[in-house]
Symmetry: C2
Subunit: 323 residues, 2 copies
Amino acid sequence: MFTSSATGYSINGQKHTLVQRNIKQLHEQVKEGNFLALARGITIVENELSGYHDLLLGLHRNRHARVIGITGPPGAGKSTLVNALIRYWLTENKKIAVLAVDPSSPFNYGALLGDRIRMSEFYTHPNIFIRSLATRGALGGLNAKMIEITDLVKEAPFDLVLVETVGVGQSEIEIAGLADCTVVTLVPEAGDEVQTLKAGIMEIANIFVVNKADRDGAEALFRNLRIMAHEKAAGADETPVIKTIATGDEGVGELATAIVTFLDAQENLPEKRLHLLADKCWQLIQAQRMKDIDHNRLRTELAEAVKQDNFNLYAFVNHFLGN
Amino acid sequence: MFTSSATGYSINGQKHTLVQRNIKQLHEQVKEGNFLALARGITIVENELSGYHDLLLGLHRNRHARVIGITGPPGAGKSTLVNALIRYWLTENKKIAVLAVDPSSPFNYGALLGDRIRMSEFYTHPNIFIRSLATRGALGGLNAKMIEITDLVKEAPFDLVLVETVGVGQSEIEIAGLADCTVVTLVPEAGDEVQTLKAGIMEIANIFVVNKADRDGAEALFRNLRIMAHEKAAGADETPVIKTIATGDEGVGELATAIVTFLDAQENLPEKRLHLLADKCWQLIQAQRMKDIDHNRLRTELAEAVKQDNFNLYAFVNHFLGN
């Protein structure tokens, strides 16, 4: 049935000792904060090149770097907000990595170009590492890959890892399993009520941001979020709602403080961290086990199969899996 | 690695011929509309009792029965709406099955009792089959099970299969892959704006219902949904928004008509149906392949493993999978 690529994170025999030595060296360089080594490491993980398993199996736990997810709908100003947060944290001499998941870029180079345009201000700053990731991944695969890449990035001596994802459906929910703190960014455009309709993701927010807070409708959106945060809290701590104008750095200090406050409180919640970690494991296992399922092939074969008069979905699944 | 329960919908050797014969008989009875046989069949599928695989592999495609998903937050009056729809369709002499997914019932008997209270009006009607299903399923498992059960129910000579799910996060999104038409039910309570915040599910609605339309805020909710439906449509057909007072049967005829109109239009969209069917396959495969993963064991072993100083998530996954 299926044995091929589902063998897990195993090291395949002795012949890989040379690869292993190189990977070990790469890992050491990453730990020293070598950005070139980190970039190469990410490419290895992203494309599952030679040394991929060894690299992941060699990771330690960096108890230092903390992961902040920045999510929200397209046009919410997430990149501008990330820029403003970097600017703020640089005054505290923080070392920061930014991972941007850009669904509009089918190729890495496209994504890289996107970075240059959007993040030019810090692209060559020695304390800032920026990397875009294409979302080529099949169903459910992106998140497992992001878990792996984020774990690698955490090996480097960063204080904070910012993961920016465009909020399109599922991926926002998945970010919650990846990040120590999830910031959901919204804007008052398109009418406050219509805007909020997009927000099934609300459940996963640790902090809400009302960006472009000088625009019409910002106050109404802010109020609605506050009401919702209050209802959701039911007596416990309410999810903070923070107004920002990222282009003018307004409210960014308040946001940075809220993030750090949340992260510090998190340290004392081992139960929640365990829950997130178990969720990570589940997703890694799921991605591994579905890796050999080609969605295009599934669709093509299914399109043929349904034409048969005696089509049976379960027999098709069996046949497709080669049972 | 993993071979045990992941062998798919296979028939295990010759010794099961007696079971197979019984299952074949059960299947014939289901096709004739025998409710007792159907109830037993559902129990077999739900609990994967002896004959489970044979039953599924024997299913044909009933091109007749169409599946309508009724979803929405708790308290939206979904059960009352289902009752009202049944009452309406009974005047047209329709045969209807109702599957209710009740997350509050850990056991079937609890769910059954819930039925009796909520659905008593039609519980003994010869044209109506009602079954509650407990949501014991592990992560992602419920939907695969619902796909299987719904496929079985479709073998019986029903005109319509109503699947009622309480809208809690993921499950609403999953219903869209199961149903030929998804009705999202909302109520104007708790302030129209706060209410709509729950609705990341909006994407999957084929029809919106504003139930309890005589209450304060109904008009505002109705208007907001109309605006959103208009924006989403972008020139194409807009998702209908229908006001109902299910307790008084108001608007129910209009809703029934909208559902049938939508279903009839669907018949001409083989591409969309193929997409949904491919999604079903994906979920069935995923559930099959994750079946041997015990989430509690994962959590327990992980809680121990993270205490180690040299904890590595990927090595843990390997170890957990027995690699």
